[in-house]
Symmetry: none
Subunit: 212 residues, 4 copies
C-alpha cells in the first residue's frame, strides 16, 4: 500500500505548494513586493515559517517559482501556436492577444515579479546564468521565430529580428509597469490594449491590410 501513501503525500505537498503560491500572489496584490516577507507568507499560507523553507531554499526561489507558475498558462498557449503556413502578421497579432490578455489578468503579480527580477542583482545574474532559467524564455524564443519569418517573408519591416523581438518584449514590459499597474483596479483596460496593439502592429508591419 505504499502507492496510496505516496500519492497522499504528493497531494499534500502540492496542496502546500499551492497554498504558498496563492498566499504569495495575494500578498503581492495587496501589499506589493515589500510585503512579501517570509513571516507574512508563512502566516498567510497557514504554515510555519520553517515549512516555507522546506519548499523553497530561500526567498529568491519563491519569486522564481511565482514567476514560472504565473506564466505557465501563457507559455503553453504561445508554444501551441503552429507557425507552419501561417501569415506572420496574423501570428504576431494572435500572440500579442494572448500576451496582452494574460497581462491584464495577472497584472499585479506580473508587475511585482518583473520588478523583483529586475531589481535584485543576484537574481538577475541567476536568471541570466543559463538562458533556460530566465522565466518566460520560451515565449521569447517562439516570438523570435515569428519575427524572423516576418522579416524574411517581407511581411514585417526589414530589420534585425532579434532586436525587434527585444523591443517587442521591452514594450510589453513597460506596459505592465506603467499602464496596467497604475490603472485603477476597476478601470477598463480595453482601450489601452487596443492602443498597444495598434502601436505594435503598425510599428512592425508595413501598411496594407491588417485585421480590421
Amino acid at each position: 500500500m505504499p502507492r496510496l501513501s505516496d500519492e497522499k503525500k504528493a497531494v499534500l505537498e502540492s496542496m502546500t505548494r499551492e497554498a504558498l503560491y496563492e498566499a504569495a500572489v495575494g500578498i503581492l496584490r495587496e501589499e506589493g513586493l515589500q510585503g512579501l516577507t517570509m513571516d507574512r507568507l508563512a502566516a498567510s499560507a497557514g504554515v510555519a515559517k520553517g515549512t516555507v523553507y522546506n519548499y523553497f531554499r530561500d526567498k529568491k526561489e519563491i519569486v522564481f517559482f511565482l514567476a514560472e507558475r504565473s506564466m505557465e498558462d501563457v507559455i503553453r498557449q504561445v508554444q501551441a501556436l503552429d507557425l507552419e503556413g501561417r501569415d506572420p502578421v496574423e501570428l504576431l497579432e494572435e500572440s500579442l492577444d494572448l500576451l496582452l490578455n494574460h497581462m491584464v489578468e495577472k497584472r499585479k503579480t506580473l508587475g511585482a515579479l518583473f520588478r523583483t527580477l529586475c531589481e535584485d542583482v543576484e537574481m538577475r545574474e541567476m536568471a541570466c546564468e543559463s538562458r533556460n532559467r530566465r522565466p518566460g524564455h520560451e515565449i521569447r524564443e517562439k516570438m523570435t521565430e515569428i519575427f524572423r519569418k516576418g522579416v524574411s517573408t517581407g511581411r514585417f519591416r526589414p530589420g534585425n529580428p532579434v532586436m525587434m523581438n527585444a523591443v517587442f518584449h521591452a514594450t510589453l514590459h513597460g506596459i505592465i509597469h506603467e499602464f496596467i499597474l497604475h490603472a485603477d483596479d476597476d478601470a477598463d483596460p480595453s482601450e489601452a490594449v487596443a492602443a498597444i496593439k495598434d502601436l505594435i502592429l503598425h510599428g512592425f508591419c508595413p501598411e496594407e491590410k491588417k485585421k480590421p
Copy 2:
C-alpha cells in the same frame, strides 16, 4: 548684513544638496538601489547622517529629488520645443531623440529610480497625489500636446492622444528596464535605439515619408 548671511546660507545649502545628489547618483551607478543606504549616502557625500535629514524628510524624498534632478535637463529640452507651425511627426522624432539620448546617458540612474518609484506603494501614492509631483510630468504634458496635434492634423494615426501618449511613455519605460539596463555597460546601444525609433515612428505615424 542679514542679507549676505542669507545668501551664504543658501549657497552652502545648495552645495550640500548638490553633494548629496552626486553621491546618490554615484552609489546608484555602482551598487544599485540596494546600496543606497543613508549611512553610505552620508559618508559618500561627506556629511553626517543627521545632516541628510536636515535636507530631506526621509529616504523617499531623496529618491524624489534624484528623479527630479536627473530629469531637469531633458525636461528643459523638451519644454523648449516650439510646437507652433511644426510638423508633429518631426516633433515626435525630435523629442524621441532627446529622450532616448537622455536615457542612454543616465540609464543606470533612471533605471534605479523608476524601479523605486514603481515599487514603493507609499511612494507611488505620493507621486499620484498631485499630478504635479510625478517626476517628469512636464514631459508627459508636452508630449500630449504633440500627440494631440498629430492626431488632429492627421499626421498621426487616429486614436485617443492621451492613450497614445501613455503607450509611448510605457514603451520608453520598458526600454529602460529591459534594454539599456540589461545591456552590457560597454555595448553600443545605437542599434537598439534605431529599432525603437522605428517602432515608435511607424507605430504612431502612417506610412509615407519619414526622416530617412
Copy 3:
C-alpha cells in the same frame, strides 16, 4: 521463533547504530562540529531523521555515544594492562603510547567531542552526574592506579596521585586541542609525540633510566 526475531532485531538495530556512528564521525572529520546537524546525520547514515530519535533521545546522547564508541578500543587496551609485578614507569610509558597513538588516529573526532563535552553546560553536568557516565572514566581509573603505585613505590616523584592523574589527563586534553587538531592533516606528528612523551615521563618520574 521469537528468539530468532529478537536476534534479527538486535542485529538490525546495531547496524543502524553503527551506520549512525560512522556517519557522525565522517561529518565531524569533514565539516567539524558545526556540520553535525540531525538532518545531515540522518541523510548521511541513510535513515530518516525520525529514526535517529528512535536510537538517541536527543543530540547530546549522540555525542555521548560517539565519545564512548570512539574510545572503546583504547579503553580496552588500557584496561588490559596487567599492573601486577610491573614497573610503574614502564606502565606509564606503555599507556602513554597507547593513548597518544589513539589520539593521533582519531584526533579530529576526539577534538570535536572534547569541545562539545566541555562546551555544553547541560552536557557537562550530565557527565558529572554519575562518575560512571563520564566518557573515558575507565581509563582515568586505571591510570590512577598506576600513579598510586608509582608514587608509593618511589618510582614516581612524590605527590598526590589523584592530582597527578588529573594533570596527566589535562595535558593530554590540551594536546588534542592545540597540537594535533591544529596541525595540518598530513603533518607528521611524531616529533610532537616525542616531545610530549618527554615532558610527561621526565615530569612525573625522577631522573635515572627511562626507555632510551
Copy 4:
C-alpha cells in the same frame, strides 16, 4: 571647545565598550558560550542590539575583543620579563607563575574563549591568517625565547625549543579546560597549581636544584 566634547565622546564610548566587555564576561561565566547571544549581550550591557554592532562588526569580533582584553594584563607582565642575564629555569618558573595565576583568576572567561577560538572554523582561520592576530601570540613569542635559551645553555633538556614551547602551551590550554574549569568554583586550586608546576619544571628541566 571641541576638545572637551571629543573627550566626552571618547569617555562615553569607552564606557560602553567596558559595559559590553563586562556583560560578555558575565554571560560567559554564568551561561557559557551558548548563552552569549547578541540579544542577551545587548540587554545585559543595557544597550540596544544595534549599538553592539556599532562597536563590533559581528559576533566573532566580540569574542576576539574579549580574548585580547582578558589577556592584556598577563601579556604585559610576561613581556616585561627581562631575559638578559637570567637563568632560564628561573624565567620559566616565573612566567609559569604569572600564567597560572592569571588562569586561575580568569578561568571561566579564558575557558570559554579558548573553546570558542578552537571551535569556530572561520575564527580559527581568521586567527591563523596572520600570526599577529592570534590572541596571546606575544606570550608565545616570549616563551619561545626562554625555551631557546634554556635549550642552548643546557639548562633545559635537549630538544626543539619551538616544539617544547608548543607542548608547554598545549599543557596550559588543557589545564584550563580540564582542571580549573571543572573544579568547583570554591575549590582551592593551589594544590593543582603546584602539581602543574612540578610537571612542567621537572618535565623540561633536568634534575639538579630547582627552586625549593
